[in-house]
C-alpha cells in the first residue's frame, strides 16, 4: 500500500516520505510553509498558492475532512501539499469527503510522513525554494527542482483569474471586484454590502468605469506583483478618477505599484494565521491571516500614502491609505478563511467610503447566515459525497 516518495529541493536537500493524494511521479513548484492550525481546505483551495507547494507545519492534516462550502475557489491551483500525517479517517459533521480523496479528485499530489519541522526550518533559512517531489528517483526529482522557476517573474494571475465576469449579491452598492485570484470568502463578505461583479484581471479601467460602480475591489492573488502591468495601469486610472478602492494582499501590492512604488520579495513570506498587525492610529493589535511572499516598500511611496498598519513581527508594511484619493489597502487577509475575524471592520470601512462618495451617510449590510453563499462560482469538480 505505502508508496515511498521523496522530496528534493533545488539546493539538494532530500526528505523521505510517502506519496499521498493524486498519483504523480514528479510534481514541482515553489515550496512554502503555512503555520495555520486549522483551515487546510481553505489554504489548499486558495488561488494565491498557484505555482506553489504548500507545507503544513501542523502535523495532522485532513482530520475534519473537506466540505463544499469551505472552498476558496472553483478549483485547486497549488502544485502539491506536504504534510507530516494525512488523516485516514475524518471526523466532523460538516465533512462530505476525505481530504485525500479531494486531492485525488483534483489531481493534486502530496507527500506525507515528512519531517515538516526540518523542512520549515530549512525554508526559513533559504527562503521559499523550488522543489520537486514524487515517486520518481532522486536524480529525476533533483533535475525537476532545478528547472522549476519559482514564482519570481511568472504571470500566475493569468492562470487563475476568471475568464468571464459574473455577479453575486444584491443591494444598493455596486462593487466591481478584480479577480487576480480572488478568494470566495472575500466575495462572501463583499456580497453582504451590495451587488458584486467579478471581472477578469485584464479588464481595463474604461470598462470598469462604464459599469458605474460605487467602488472597486482589488483582490488577492498569486505571485509577483510586477508581472501584472496592465492591472497596474487600470488601477492607476481608477484611483485617479477618485473611485473608492480597497485592496487586499496582491491588490495592496498592485495599488502600491500603481502609485509608482516598489515591491520586493520577503525571504520566506508570511503564511499563517497568527501574525500581529498594529493599527497605527489606535495602537490596537489584530491577529491576522497572512499569505504573501512579496511586500510593499512604503519608503518608495513617501508622501503619497499614510501607513495604516504594521506587522509587529518584522515591522513590514501591512496597510496604507492613499493621500488625496479614495483608496486604501491591506497586505493581510481581513476576510480570514482561514483565520481570525479581528479585521473584518475593514469591509465596513470600504462600504462607508463608497456610501460617502455617493453622498450617503451610511450603508446596510445583510449579514451572512449559514454557510452557503449563492452566486459563487460552482466548484468545477464534485467531490465524493
Amino acid at each position: 500500500m505505502i508508496r515511498e516518495a521523496l522530496l528534493v529541493l533545488s539546493d539538494g536537500e532530500v526528505f523521505e516520505g510517502e506519496a499521498i493524494g493524486a498519483e504523480m511521479s514528479v510534481a514541482a513548484g515553489e515550496v512554502v510553509f503555512n503555520t495555520v492550525l486549522s483551515g487546510y481546505q481553505e489554504v489548499i483551495t486558495d488561488p494565491s498558492y498557484a505555482g506553489q507547494i504548500i507545507t503544513f507545519t501542523t502535523p495532522h492534516i485532513g482530520n475534519y475532512g473537506v466540505n463544499l462550502t469551505d472552498f476558496e475557489s472553483r478549483r485547486i491551483f497549488c502544485r502539491g501539499v506536504i504534510v507530516r500525517e494525512m488523516a485516514r479517517r475524518r471526523s466532523n459533521w460538516r465533512a462530505t469527503a476525505d481530504l485525500n480523496d479531494m486531492l485525488i479528485a483534483y489531481g493534486i499530489p502530496g507527500i506525507g510522513g515528512i519531517d515538516t519541522r526540518r523542512l520549515t526550518r530549512h525554508i526559513r533559512d533559504t527562503g521559499a525554494i523550488p522543489g520537486a517531489f514524487g515517486t520518481a528517483d532522486e536524480s529525476t526529482l533533483r533535475a525537476a527542482a532545478l528547472v522549476e522557476p519559482g514564482t519570481d517573474g511568472v504571470d500566475l494571475v493569468a492562470q487563475v483569474t476568471t475568464s468571464q465576469p459574473y455577479t453575486l449579491g444584491s443591494g444598493t452598492l455596486r462593487i466591481i471586484a478584480y479577480d487576480f485570484g480572488i478568494k470566495h470568502t472575500i466575495l462572501r463578505h463583499l456580497s453582504e454590502y451590495g451587488e458584486v461583479t467579478v471581472v477578469p484581471a485584464r479588464t481595463g479601467a474604461v470598462d470598469v468605469l462604464a459599469l458605474k460602480p460605487d467602488g472597486v475591489f482589488l483582490s488577492n492573488g498569486p505571485g509577483d506583483p510586477a508581472m501584472s502591468p496592465c492591472a497596474v495601469d487600470a488601477i492607476r486610472e481608477l484611483v485617479e478618477a477618485g473611485m473608492p478602492t480597497f485592496g487586499i494582499c496582491l491588490g495592496h501590492q498592485l495599488l502600491c505599484r500603481a502609485l509608482g512604488g516598489e515591491t520586493f520579495k520577503l525571504p520566506f513570506g508570511h503564511h499563517g494565521g497568527n501574525h500581529p498587525v498594529q493599527q497605527v492610529s489606535s495602537g490596537k493589535v489584530e491577529i491576522t491571516s497572512q499569505n504573501h511572499n512579496f511586500c510593499v516598500d512604503p519608503s518608495s511611496l513617501d508622501g503619497r500614502i499614510e501607513v495604516t498598519h504594521l506587522n509587529l513581527n518584522d515591522h513590514t508594511n501591512e496597510g496604507m491609505r492613499v493621500n488625496g484619493a479614495n483608496a486604501f489597502s491591506v497586505q493581510y487577509h481581513p476576510e480570514a478563511g482561514p483565520g481570525p475575524h479581528d479585521s473584518q471592520y475593514l469591509f465596513d470601512q470600504f462600504a462607508r467610503l463608497m456610501a460617502s462618495a455617493k453622498g450617503r451617510s451610511g450603508f446596510t449590510r445583510n449579514s451572512m447566515t449559514g454557510y452557503e453563499t449563492p452566486g459563487l462560482p460552482t466548484i468545477e469538480l464534485g467531490v465524493a459525497g
Binding site: 486549522s38 519541522r117 520549515t120 493589535v285 480570514a336
Partner: protein, 1087 residues
C-alpha cells in the same frame, strides 16, 4: 500603555494547600507572577499557607506571609503592609473567593482600600455565579444548556417540563458530587431529583439539560487594557462531556474543528471575556459542541489562571501567568516581548507543530469505597503531559508517563487482565469512564470491534479512535514481522507511533535494551525538537525540548558542565509538590554554582517544567528509555536522582552508575532492602521494631509467630505507605498477603516479587513519631536540618499527621539521642546529600522505623521553619562541595530559632464522602499547610485555620473514644470544657468519664440503636463544633466511620487521635489568651 506607576506594592493571594482541583499549577503561576512583578520594581507581598511551594521562598517576594488564608488574616496583612493593589487571579478559586469576601467586607476594591487588579468584583461575580453567567451569555447571543433551579419536587417537575430530558442534576452546596445525577427517563428523573434535593443541605438543585456525549473544548484567552485579545491555546477533550475536563484526557491543539467552527468559538470566547468584564489577564472558556450538527454552547468560564492555563503554557511555550501579571500592572500585549523568540511581541497566537496530550492520574486505590467512575466532579490528584509530533506518539508517551505500571497503550504484561472479559462486557466497560478506559478502548479495537461501534457506545470521537487503531494495527503488524525481520523503516514507524522499547521488548519477547540496541544499530534514534511558540517560523533558542522520531535533532551541543536533574513525574498522594520544590532548588543552586542544569520531567503543573527554571528542559516521561535518550544527547557529568521522590530513585539502578551523583545506589538499596537494613541497625545498635520479610503467606505467618500481633504490613519500594496496613490477627494477615500477591501479577504498584518482598514489622502502639532531615557531605560532616515531632501517634502516616519544629514535648536528651542515631545512620550509609529518618519514641526508647537517603516530603517545611535551604545545599554536596565550603559561601547558615512551626496535612475526604476519614499508615493527604507563631499552641491553631478546620470557640465537643484512649479523654474533656464548650459523649465514653468525676453535658446512644437524636443529627444541625473520635480497630462500617463522614460532609473539625485533641485544646487556650498576629517569613528569618 506603559506599566502603572500609581501603584507601588501588590498583595498576591496564593491558592493554599494542594487539594484536588487546585494543585501545583498555582505555584507555577504564582512563582512566575512574583518574579515578574519584582522585576518590574513593585514591592510584592505574598499570602499563602502552603510551605511546600517555591513561591513562598523568601526570595520570591518582599514579604511572604505563610499564614492561614482567611479574611481575618488577610485583613491583618493588609493593615500591616498597606498594599496599593491586590492581585487575586493567580491563586485559583481560593484567591477569587477570598477577594470576593474581602470586597464584601469593604476591605478591598472600594475607595480608600487596595484596588483589585486583574479582575474586579463585578466580573468575578458574573463569572462565578452560574445563573448570572448564563444570563450574561444569553444576552450576548451565545447558547448555554437550558436549566432551572428547584427547591422541591413540584418545582423540579416544572423545570423538566420546560427543558425536557435528558438532564443532569447538580445539588447546591454539596461536596464531592454527592447527589449529582443524570436522568434520561421520567422515572429516573423523579428518583434523581429526590436524591439531589435530599443531598443538598439547602434543598436546592440545578437541573440542566444533559449534553453528555457532546464534544468538549477549552480555549485559553488573554486580554489587555487596550482590548487586545489572543487565544493562547485550544484544547480538545478525548473524553466527551460528562467527564470533568480535569479528569479528561485532553489534547492540544484542537484536532477536529474546521476553521469556520474554530473561529466561531474564538469569537465567542472574546465576547464572553468582554461581557464578563475581564479587563486584563488570562481566562479559560469551556465549550461543548454537538457532534451531529455543530451546535455550540458555553459551559463556563474562569476569569483567572487555571490548571488549563498552566497546561496551555507548557503546551505552547507562552507563559500565561507571567504575561497576565504584566498585563495586570498596565502593559499591553504588544509591549511585552515573546519570551521565546525575543524578537516578536506577545500579541500573537502560538502555532504549534506537535501534539500535546494530558492524562490525569487518580488515587482511587488509596480511597476504598469510591466507585472509581469519573463524572462531572474532578477526582484526579495529578497529571502527566506528553509531547509528540503526532497524537499516537504523544498519547503513548503520556500513558507511560503516568507511572502506573503501563508501558503505553497496552502491548504490556498488564493487558492480560482483559483476556477474561467477553466482548459485550468489554464494550460496556469502554462506555464507563474510568482510569482504565483508554486501555479498554485499545483492547476493544484489538479484538476487531469497529471504530463506529465503539464511537456509538462511548461517543469518543472517531478520529481519536482511528488514531488508536493505528497503534493497534501497527502492533499486529509488528507481531507478524518479528524482531529479527525489523528494518529501519519498521523501527521508525513503530517509534513514530510512540511504542516504547519495553513495549516492543514485550511484543518480541526480548529485553528492552536489546530493542534499543537493534534500532540504534540501524540508525533509528530519538531526535529532539524545540517548543518555540511559532512552528519554526522564527528562530528561537528556547531551551525546551521533546523527543520524537524525525530526521534532525535541534539540540545544540554545549560543552558546559552539565547536570541532569530527574523530576518526580505526575503528582500523586505521597509524591507531590515537595519533590518538585527540591528539584527546582537543586536547579537554582547548581546554576548559581556554574553548572548547566538539565531538567527531565513530565508534570505540566510544576515550576520544574517552566523552561525558565533550568538551563534546559526536556519534557519527557521518566522511564529508563527516555532518560537514556537525554543522556545520550547531552552527555552530562552527573545525574541527580535523589530529589524527585521515589520516581527517579527507582530509575537509579537502570542508568549509567558512574553518572549518579550523591549517595550511591548501593547505599540507597541498603536502606531500602530490609535484610541489609537490619544488619546495619544491628551493627549500629539502634533499636528497631522486630520484623522480617516475606514473599509468601507461609513466610508471613512464620514471622508473626515470632513477633506477635499487631503488625504493620507493607510492600517495599513504595511511597506514601501504599498498600500498608495494620494487621491484628492471622486471618487479616492472610488476606493482606493475598491482595499484594495479586498486585504483583498485574504489574501494579506495591506488587510482590522476590526482589520486592513484603515487610512485616511489629506495630509499636502509643509511640510518638519523629522525623529527621539531615545533611552529610563527603568529608563526613553531618548537619541536622530539623527534628520534627508528630502530633498524631506512630501508625498515622507521617505524611498525614501534623508535626512541629522544635519538638514541643520531647525531652532534650531524647532529641540528642535521635540526632546521634541519625548521624550514625548517615555515616553508615555514606550519605552525600540528604537523608530522612523516621523514629518512633516509646517511653525512653527510640526506635528507628525507616531511613531514606534522599530528599523527603518535609524538606521545604524544614527550610521554611529554619531558614536553611536544605535542597540547595544537598545538590551542591552531591556535586562535591563540602558543608564547610557552603558555610563560607553563605549558603549554609545556622537555623533560626525563637518560634514554632507546625505542618498540618490536608486530606481529600470532602471529595469522597464514601471514604472513612480515619487516619492510618497509608498516606492520603494531598497537601499541607504551615502555621508559624511564637508558641506551639498558637502555631497549631494557625495550622488548623489554614487547613480549613479552624478550632471552635463555642458549641459542643463530641467525644467518642476507644478503650485505650479513654484515660487521655478525661484531660481532653476537661480542657474543652475550660474553653467553654459543652461536652457530648457516647455512652461508654460518658460512663468512663463519670467514673473519674467528670459528668458530660449530654450522652448519645449508638447510631445502630436508632433511638433519639444521634451524633450525626447534631453534626448536621451545627451544634457539634468539634469531634474527637478514635477508631476502634477494623471491621465493617462502624458508628465511628459514619460520624467521621458526617463531620467531613458538614465541615466540622474532626480529629481521630487524642494527641491531636490535646494539641487543639492547647491551641484554643493560647489563641483565646493572645490576639492573633501575622508576621512575614522574612521577619522570622531575620532577612
Amino acid at each position: 500603555m506603559p506599566k502603572r506607576t500609581d501603584i507601588q506594592s501588590i498583595l498576591i493571594i496564593g491558592s493554599g494547600p494542594i487539594v484536588i482541583g487546585q494543585a501545583c499549577e498555582f505555584d507555577y503561576s504564582g512563582t512566575q507572577a512574583c518574579r515578574v512583578l519584582k522585576e518590574e520594581g513593585y514591592r510584592v507581598i505574598l499570602a499563602n499557607s502552603n510551605p511546600a511551594t517555591i513561591m513562598t521562598d523568601p526570595d520570591f517576594a518582599d514579604r511572604t506571609y505563610i499564614e492561614p488564608l482567611t479574611v481575618e488574616v488577610l485583613a491583618k496583612i493588609i493593615e500591616r503592609e498597606k498594599p496599593d493593589a491586590v492581585l487575586p487571579t493567580l491563586g485559583g478559586q481560593t484567591g477569587l473567593n477570598l477577594a470576593m469576601e474581602l470586597f464584601h467586607a469593604g476591605l478591598v476594591g472600594v475607595p480608600g482600600t487596595p484596588e483589585l487588579i486583574g479582575a474586579n468584583a463585578e466580573s468575578i461575580e458574573t463569572a462565578e455565579n452560574r445563573e448570572k453567567f448564563k444570563q450574561a451569555m444569553i444576552e450576548i447571543g451565545l447558547d448555554v444548556p437550558p436549566s432551572g433551579t428547584a427547591h422541591n419536587m413540584e418545582e423540579a417537575m416544572e423545570v423538566v417540563a420546560r427543558i425536557g430530558l435528558p438532564i443532569i442534576i447538580r445539588p447546591a452546596y454539596i461536596l464531592g458530587g454527592r447527589g449529582t445525577g443524570m436522568a434520561a427517563t421520567m422515572e429516573e428523573f423523579v428518583k434523581a431529583a429526590a436524591h439531589g434535593l435530599d443531598a443538598s443541605p439547602v434543598s436546592e438543585i440545578l437541573i440542566e439539560t444533559s449534553i453528555a456525549g457532546w464534544k468538549e473544548y477549552e480555549l485559553e484567552v488573554m486580554r489587555d487594557r487596550n482590548d487586545n485579545c489572543v487565544i493562547v491555546c485550544s484544547i480538545e477533550n478525548f473524553d466527551p462531556m460528562g467527564v470533568h475536563t480535569g479528569d479528561s484526557i485532553t489534547v492540544a491543539p484542537a484536532q477536529t474543528l474546521t476553521d469556520v467552527e474554530y473561529q466561531k468559538m474564538r469569537d465567542a470566547a472574546f465576547a464572553c471575556l468582554r461581557r464578563v468584564g475581564v479587563e486584563t489577564g488570562g481566562s479559560n472558556v469551556q465549550f461543548a459542541l454537538n457532534p451531529e450538527n455543530g451546535h455550540m454552547v458555553v459551559i463556563e468560564m474562569n476569569p483567572r489562571v487555571s490548571r488549563s492555563s498552566a497546561l496551555a503554557s507548557k503546551a505552547t511555550g507562552f507563559p500565561i501567568a507571567k504575561i497576565a501579571a504584566r498585563l495586570a500592572v498596565g502593559y499591553t500585549l504588544d509591549e511585552i516581548p515573546n519570551d521565546i523568540t525575543k524578537m516578536t511581541p506577545a500579541s500573537f497566537e502560538p502555532s504549534i507543530d506537535y501534539v500535546v496530550t494530558k492524562i490525569p492520574r487518580w488515587a482511587f486505590e488509596k480511597l476504598p469505597g469510591t466507585s472509581g467512575i469519573l463524572g462531572t466532579q474532578m477526582q484526579s490528584v495529578g497529571e502527566a503531559m506528553a509531547i509528540g509530533r503526532t497524537f499516537p506518539e504523544s498519547f503513548q508517551k503520556g500513558l507511560r508517563s503516568l507511572e502506573n505500571g503501563r508501558l503505553g497503550l497496552n502491548c504490556d504484561p498488564a493487558e492480560k487482565q482483559y483476556d477474561a472479559l467477553d466482548d459485550a462486557e468489554l464494550l460496556r466497560l469502554c462506555n464507563v469512564p474510568t482510569p482504565e478506559r483508554p486501555f479498554h478502548l485499545g483492547e476493544a479495537l484489538r479484538r476487531g470491534m469497529s471504530v463506529d461501534t465503539i464511537n456509538a457506545a462511548t461517543k469518543v470521537d472517531v478520529w481519536f479512535l482511528d488514531q488508536m487503531l493505528m497503534i493497534v494495527e501497527e502492533r499486529a503488524h509488528l507481531a507478524t514481522l518479528g524482531f529479527s525481520a525489523m528494518t529501519k523503516r519498521d523501527w521508525k514507524r513503530a517509534k513514530r507511533l510512540g511504542f516504547s522499547d519495553p513495549q516492543l521488548g514485550y511484543l518480541f519477547g526480548v529485553d528492552e535494551l536489546d530493542v534499543r540496541k537493534a534500532r540504534l544499530d540501524v540508525g533509528v534514534k530519538a531526535t529532539f525538537k524545540t517548543v518555540d511558540t511559532c512552528a519554526a517560523e522564527f528562530a528561537a533558542q528556547t531551551p525546551y525540548h521533546y523527543s520524537t522520531y524525525e530526521d534532525t535533532d535541534e539540540v545544540q551541543p554545549s560543552d558546559g558542565k552539565k547536570v541532569i536533574i530527574l523530576g518526580s513525574g505526575p503528582n500523586r498522594i505521597g509524591q507531590g509538590i515537595e519533590f518538585d520544590y527540591c528539584c527546582v532548588h537543586a536547579s537554582f543552586a547548581l546554576r548559581d554554582a556554574g553548572y548547566e542544569t538539565i531538567m527531565i520531567n513530565c508534570n505540566p503543573e510544576t515550576v520544574s517544567t517552566d523552561y525558565d527554571t533550568s538551563s534546559r528542559l526536556y519534557f519527557e516521561p521518566l522511564t529508563r528509555e527516555d532518560v537514556l535518550n537525554v543522556i545520550e544527547a547531552e552527555n552530562p557529568i552527573g545525574i541527580v536522582v535523589s530529589l524527585g521522590g521515589q520516581t527517579p530513585l527507582k530509575l537509579a539502578g537502570l542508568l549509567p552508575q558512574n553518572l549518579i551523583v550523591g549517595t550511591s545506589p548501593e547505599s540507597i538499596d541498603r536502606a531500602e532492602d530490609r535484610e541489609l537494613w537490619n544488619v546495619l541497625c544491628n551493627q549500629l545498635n539502634i533499636p528497631q521494631p522486630a520484623g522480617g520479610t516475606a514473599v509468601t503467606v507461609d513466610e508471613a505467618l512464620a514471622i508473626t509467630d515470632q513477633i506477635g500481633f499487631p503488625v504493620l504490613v507493607r510492600p517495599s519500594y513504595v511511597l506514601g505507605g501504599r498498600g500498608m496496613r495494620i494487621v491484628n490477627d492471622r486471618d487479616e494477615l492472610v488476606s493482606a498477603m493475598s491482595e499484594l500477591i495479586g498486585f504483583g501479577a498485574l504489574g501494579k504498584e506495591g506488587g510482590l516479587s522476590a526482589e520486592r518482598p513484603v515487610l512485616i514489622d511489629r506495630f509499636l502502639e502509643d509511640a510518638t513519631e519523629v522525623d529527621v532531615d539531615a545533611l552529610r557531605d563527603a568529608t563526613g560532616e553531618v548537619v541536622i536540618g530539623g527534628v520534627m515531632e508528630h502530633v498524631e501517634e506512630a501508625g498515622v502516616h507521617s505524611g498525614d499527621s501534623a508535626c512541629a519544629i522544635p519538638p514541643p514535648t520531647l525531652q532534650p536528651w531524647v532529641i540528642e539521642v535521635i540526632e546521634h542515631y541519625a548521624t550514625s545512620i548517615a555515616h553508615a550509609l555514606d550519605v552525600k546529600g540528604l537523608i530522612n529518618i523516621q523514629f518512633a519514641v516509646r517511653g525512653n526508647q527510640v526506635n528507628v522505623i525507616e531511613a531514606n537517603p534522599r530528599a523527603s516530603r518535609t524538606v521545604p517545611f524544614v527550610a521554611k521553619a529554619t531558614g536553611v535551604p536544605l535542597a540547595k545545599i544537598a545538590s551542591r554536596i552531591m556535586l562535591g562541595a563540602t558543608l564547610q565550603q557552603l558555610r563560607e559561601e553563605g549558603l549554609l547558615k545556622p537555623p533560626v530559632t525563637g518560634h514554632t512551626s507546625v505542618k498540618e496535612a490536608v486530606l481529600p475526604f470532602n471529595r469522597f464522602p464514601a471514604v472513612d476519614p480515619a487516619l492510618g499508615p497509608e498516606m492520603r493527604s494531598t497537601g499541607e499547610v504551615m502555621g508559624i507563631d511564637i508558641t506551639f499552641g498558637l502555631a497549631f491553631a494557625k495550622s488548623q485555620a489554614a487547613s480549613y478546620s479552624a478550632l471552635p470557640t463555642d458549641g459542643s465537643l463530641f467525644i467518642s473514644l476507644k478503650d485505650r484512649d479513654k484515660p487521655a479523654g478525661i484531660i481532653v474533656a476537661k480542657r474543652f470544657r475550660e474553653r467553654g464548650l459543652k461536652i457530648i459523649a457516647t455512652k461508654g465514653t460518658a460512663a468512663y468519664l463519670a467514673r473519674f468525676g467528670f459528668d458530660v453535658d449530654r450522652t448519645l446512644s449508638k447510631l445502630s440503636d436508632n433511638e433519639g437524636t444521634s451524633a450525626v443529627d447534631l453534626i448536621a444541625s451545627g451544634e457539634i463544633t468539634f469531634i474527637v473520635n478514635t477508631p476502634s480497630g477494623s471491621g465493617g462500617r462502624s458508628d465511628g466511620s459514619h460520624i467521621r463522614t458526617a463531620a467531613v460532609v458538614h465541615r466540622v473539625s474532626c480529629v481521630t487521635t487524642v494527641e491531636a485533641a490535646l494539641a487543639a485544646a492547647q491551641g484554643m487556650a493560647e489563641a483565646a489568651a493572645t490576639p492573633m498576629t501575622v508576621r512575614s517569613l522574612q521577619e522570622f528569618h531575620g532577612l
